[in-house]
Every structure is written in structure tokens, then in C-alpha cells.
Amino acid sequence: MFESLSGKLTGTLRNLSGRGKISESNVRDSMVEVRKALLDADVHVDVVTDFCEEVVQDALGAKVTTSLKPGEEMIGIVNQRLIDLMGPVESGVMLVDPGPTIVMMCGLQGSGKTTTCGKLAAYLKARGKKVSLVAADLQRPAAVEQLQVTANDVNENAKGVGEVTCYAEPEKCGEYGTATGVAVGVCKRGVKHARKNKVDVVILDTAGRLHIDDELMKELRGVQSMTTPHQIFLVVDAMIGQDAVNAASAFHTQLAVDGVILTKFDSDTRGGAALSVKRVTGVPIKFVGTGEKFDALEEFHPERIASRILGMGDVVSLVEKAQEEFSEEDAENIAQKMASGTMTVTDFINQLKSIRRMGPMKSLLGMLPGVGAALKNVQVDDEQFDRIEAIASSMTKKEKNDIKLLGKSRIKRIAKGSGTNPSEVNRFVKQFDMMKKMSKQMAGGGLGSKMGAMKDLAGGMDPASMAGMTGRGSTKTKSNKQRFKRRKRK
């Protein structure tokens, strides 16, 4: 997501440190590149201009020019300024007691409101809340059905003890222009229904609209005055261009928005909106959406994003994600198995599955310091992990416990059963073996040697070979149908 921006920024700033003596004009020169990097990342042009000037002033004030490590100091300054641009923010959903808390979603067409409603519902379900989604997009054909299906999916498949339902009046849908205003009534009844059913949080999914469409903006104000939402979220596509600030300002002026949710953050957008919207409108970003699944929603933390931009990684988020997936007991257990070299294929696959639930591999790797920039142009194909899982699931229990059993004919059978080929199975076997050895070694040495091994791993890293992955254009064995099912499941 931020790879390109962070690569350029760090490159430019590091260059500064390569010089003996730094002058004011050196600092200014380096900002030319920074300015371009920010513009290429869709940061609003006026924000870019201000930002660069602030950084130069800070740099001169901090006497970067006489510093021994000017590059590092510059990075520190830029880091702080980035944090200031995006923060401060209290992320999460503020809940009222007694409920229901009413949350209203709004945004341009196609920004991802309905999908985000599902994600918020999943987020709240995990926190034990009873959630009702109200289908107030009566414009786009089948938007109501989309929300109904989503609510159902989250209710059945998301983790947590909460409950998710959908309130809809599908008969009220109309062609463009004809149903304007009707959404106000639907929302009002949706909230009433929620009160009666002792729902904790009501989320109103409104139709997408342009901020200059007076008729439709009036409808939103109608919804607002009829339901008095506790929070209004503006959903913004992270790939949005310079117009982000115009759109966000318009919605904010009319509705007093409480927070922005940035979607499609898993794309390779450089996230300029994240850097512009708060500065121009004062509205903080509360969440980011990082995938199509309902669990792909993260709280937004400016410090963490700033450090990702500067290639310093985001270990805090990584650890948090890991804590969600692994209990301490699991961790103990697996560490012990690794140390003793008794890890089985089943253990490995379980771990792999937990890791994959944390998010797309590339975004996870990107949270490690320095790795984001290194991975900029590398394709990390998550589908290859499907193949590894398929290989493992074609093994018998015995084989999983003792991979040494695998001779030619067994390997052939496994390849056939998993829709892969023998050389892939072989590679997996070899790598599994190597990993076992390595983990034993790492566990044996002290912390220092562990770090050394990690560094080797990262230094010579070819993520593709790391996970036994073949690159793009590898043998296609899985039918699209299978592939599709997998995508659906994710």
C-alpha cells in the first residue's frame, strides 16, 4: 500500500546523510523529491506544499545542517510531521449506554459502504454486540439484497457471540431519482425496530451519492435529523485522487462527519487520502478496510501508518494481530515443539492457517521494518499457500506425523490428490525439513543468534522461495471453480 511512497521518501532522506556538510539548500533540494513522492501518492497539492515547508522549517530549527546524522534527523522530523498530519485520532466505535448506538454511513458511489457495514458488524459482533444493519440504499439495483446477504454471512461466519440482523423494505426500491427521500422513512423505521428488539448498534447503509447532488444530500440530512445518529462515518476509497478533500469537505459541511473509513487499503495505492483528509477537513480516519472479507478492517493508528510510510514497519499492529489469532498457550506449545524438533505437518498447517487469517501475506510482511520497501515489486501470491494446504491435506495422518515416510510413490499419490505435481510436493518436504532444523537451531542459541538468523532470512529474502512458492504462470492445476470456492471462503 505505502511501498512506493516509503521507498522514495527513505531513499531521498538517506541520501542526505551521505553528504559531509549539509546546507539549507541541500535540505530544500531534498524536499523536491519528497514533494514529488507525495504528489504521486495523491496527497492534495496544497497539503504537500504546506507539509514540505513545515519540514524545512523544522529541519532548520533543529539545526539538521550541523548535525552529525542529518538523514536520521530528517526522518525523525518527517515522521513527526506525518503523525501530526493524520492524528490525533481515537479509533474504534464509540458506544452509548443505554443503546442503541446509531451509526450512519455515507459516501460517494462505489466507495465500499455496504461491504464496510458488514465489516463494522463483524467488528462489533466480535465484541459481543447485537447489531442491526438498515438497508437504506434504495437506488442501486440489488443493494438491499447485497446487505441482506452480507448480514447473514457475518452473522453465521464471523467470530464472536454477538448477533447481526438486517432491516430492509425491499419493496421501497425505485429507479434512480424516484426513490429519493424514501430512505428517510426506512431509516426511521429501522431504528424503531432496533429499539424494540434491544439492539446495541444500528448501522444505516445509505446510497452512494455525489457531494454536489443537492437532492441526495438533502436526503442524508433528512436521515440525520430523523434518526440523530451518534456517529457518522464517511466511507472513502483509498485510491481517490485530489478530489478527496472536496468530497470530504462537502460531506463534512453538511453532516458534521465524525470519522472517515478508508477502503481498499490493500491495493497498491499510496494512500494520499490518508494524508490529506484530516489536514483539510479536520475529520480523523478511524478505520481502514484491507480486503473483501468481513474481517478485513483495522483500526487506524497514525503513528503506525507513519512508520510504515517511512519503511520502519509496524510491529505493534503485527503483534496485535498475532495476539488475536494465537493464545499464549498455543504459542508455548508450538515453541516447545519447534525447540525439540517434533513439529508435525499438522502443526505447521494449523500455524499457517492462523497466520493467513491475520491478513494477506504481503501486508503482513510489510509490517516488518524494512521489508515493505524491499517487497515493493515482489509478487507474494497468497494462492500458493492454498497449494501447500492442499498438499498437506492429501497426506495421511501417519505421513503428517512423520514426513520421512514419503517415498516416490507416496509423493506421486499426494501430488495427484492435491492437484499439484511431484516436484512441488518434494519441495514442500524439503522445506519443511529445513524449517524444522532451523527452528531447532534458533531455539538452541541465545537471543543474539536468533536475531542473526532472522536477519539472514530477511536479508537474502526471496519471499517466493521462502514459502515454497512458484511464481506467476506456474502450473495451473486447480480449476477456476475450486479457486473460486477458496476465494469465497476467505
Binding site: A41, H44, Q146, Y176, A244, R487
Partner: protein, 308 residues
């Protein structure tokens, strides 16, 4: 294809309904002659309409050179800019391809939420207005409600549709649709696909597969591969255009959502650097809100407050 033989007047009225964020500040510059101050202001305005650093630099440098050569000082800076921009879009074939033997197959792709399904409905309607028989293929079997969305358009517009079940293999749906198009001797088969990020390798491969399926069934298909881009998006659309082109050889761009305040300035870079022509634009949510792309009108709408 003689698609959309709309008159220039109709075009202008269409785009004049829209407002450009850039137009008002630019209007203030009308009549100003070219000097360093006005060039700097111009630079800011181009950047603020997503034209991007590379194209903006090229334009601005050209103007600066002109100034230092002592040329063009007396010319209205807006007129100069207008000419420059139109020139950058000149000489491109922007009509939709048509197959020698029906059906003409049009594949529509793009990232999530850019406007693919709506655009398919728009193109379908426009073709039908030209008395062509159209068949829609609902090959977005992934997003909840996507098939129903296109089915609703098919009903409202009275255009036939082939749909798969939610969760079905999109390549299989495409296959069935291609067979149906041949069997019913449809003039045009329009395929709507699921949104996907260009960074999602497996999904890009799925799209390649869908494309292959059409060419196996119909000679020379797909005759047109349209990439739908969202005019409100910024520099990332350039990357989208690159990646989709590599995967499925995009032949034209449908630029949707030009009815907002965003102006799709990235089009210059796309045409320049990747060479894909913009063929159609979307200017609203209704099926009739579509027009052929006309560089003059586009540039007018970009830099003028009101299109006269």
C-alpha cells in the same frame, strides 16, 4: 461500431451539467497572459485535477520554454493550455470495434466499485437504441447481489441476460453466455465481471481465463476489452491501466463518474504512457448517462467553468 452517434450539442449539454473543481479558479485566470506567476498557478491547478507530476511537468516546462524564448507572451494562458491538452489526446481511434461476423464480444473489467455493472447497462442500452440485439452475461458471481443487480437492469431495459449462480465459476458463465449468443444470433455479447484489485494475482489470472474462454468460442473475441476507470480516483488508475493491460490487453477505457467534481486528469498520462484510448464516459447513474469521449469537450469541461 457506429455507437452513439450523438451530436456535439447533446454532448456539450451532458457535460455542462457537471461541475469541475478546477474550473472556477481557472476562470479567474482567463485573460491573463503567460508569465512565471500564471504558470505556477497553472501547475498547481493541473496537479489538483489528478493530471499527475509527469504530465504536468511536461506541460509546464513547455510553457516555461516558450516564455524564455520570448514567445506567446500575448496569448491567453487558458487558450494555450486548451490547445496543449487537446493535442495530447489527438489522433486516436475511439470507436468500439465490431466483429465481421456476429457476435461482437465486449469484455468489461476493472477494480471494485468503479462502475462496471452500471456501464454495462449503459452500453447495452445504447447498442439496443442502434437496433442491435444484445445479450448480457452476469459473470460477477462473487459480490453479494451482483447478479441481481445486472438482472434488474436487464429487466428494466428489456435486454436478455445469461446469469450464473452466486458463487459459480465466472469462466463457465462466460462460456454459457458465448454459446447462447451464438445460438440466438445476438449482435453483441456484453460481459460484466467481478471487481478485482490489479494486485490480486489469482483474480487477474481468472480474468485471463475468462478472456480465453471467449476467444475459444467466438472468432477474434473479445473484440473489445473495456477497462472501467473511476474518474474520482487518482494516480493509482495509471497502475490499474498498466496491470489490466498486461493481463488482458485492454483496448479501450470507459471513464465513469465524470459527473462529480473530479475531472479524470489522469487520462492524459494513461493515453500517453500506456496508449489506451478512452472510448466512453459515464456521467450519471441512469442508463442513458453515457457518451462517447470527445477530447475537445473533455478538455473544455476540465478547464472551463461552463461549456458554452
Amino acid at each position: 461500431m457506429g455507437l452513439f452517434r450523438a451530436t456535439v450539442n447533446a454532448l456539450r449539454s451532458g457535460l455542462s451539467r457537471t461541475r469541475s473543481a478546477l474550473a472556477t479558479p481557472l476562470a479567474a485566470m482567463r485573460g491573463r497572459t503567460i508569465d512565471n506567476d500564471s504558470i505556477n498557478e497553472l501547475e498547481r491547478l493541473l496537479l489538483s485535477s489528478d493530471v499527475g507530476t509527469t504530465t504536468t511537468d511536461a506541460i509546464v516546462n513547455e510553457l516555461r520554454d516558450a516564455v524564455s524564448r520570448g514567445e506567446k507572451q500575448n496569448r491567453d494562458i487558458l487558450e494555450l493550455l486548451h490547445d496543449q491538452l487537446v493535442n495530447r489526446l489527438a489522433n486516436k481511434k475511439r470507436t468500439l470495434a465490431i466483429a465481421e461476423r456476429s457476435p461482437t464480444v465486449i469484455l468489461v473489467a476493472g477494480v471494485n466499485g468503479v462502475g462496471k455493472t452500471t456501464s454495462v447497462a449503459k452500453i447495452g442500452r445504447a447498442l439496443r437504441e442502434e437496433n442491435r440485439s444484445v445479450l448480457l452475461a452476469a459473470a460477477d458471481t462473487f459480490r453479494a447481489g451482483a447478479v441481481s443487480q445486472l438482472a434488474t437492469w436487464s429487466e428494466r431495459l428489456g435486454i436478455e441476460i445469461i446469469k450464473g449462480q452466486q458463487g459459480a465459476d465466472p469462466a463457465a458463465v462466460t462460456f454459457d453466455a458465448a454459446e447462447a449468443a451464438i445460438a440466438r444470433s445476438a449482435d453483441v455479447l456484453l460481459i460484466d465481471t467481478a471487481g478485482r484489485l490489479h494486485t490480486q494475482e489469482p483474480l487477474m489470472r481468472q480474468l485471463e481465463k475468462i478472456k480465453q474462454v471467449t476467444s475459444k468460442k467466438v472468432d477474434g473475441a473479445p473484440h473489445e476489452v473495456l477497462l472501467v476507470l473511476d474518474a474520482t480516483q487518482g494516480q493509482n488508475t495509471l497502475v490499474q491501466a498498466k496491470r489490466f493491460s498486461e493481463a488482458i490487453d485492454v483496448t479501450g477505457i470507459f471513464l465513469a463518474k465524470l459527473d462529480g467534481t473530479a475531472r479524470g486528469g489522469i487520462v492524459f498520462a494513461i493515453e500517453d504512457e500506456i496508449g489506451i484510448p478512452v472510448k466512453l464516459i459515464g456521467i450519471g447513474e441512469r442508463p442513458e448517462d453515457v457518451e462517447p469521449f470527445d477530447p475537445e469537450v473533455f478538455v473544455d469541461a476540465l478547464i472551463n467553468e461552463a461549456v458554452s
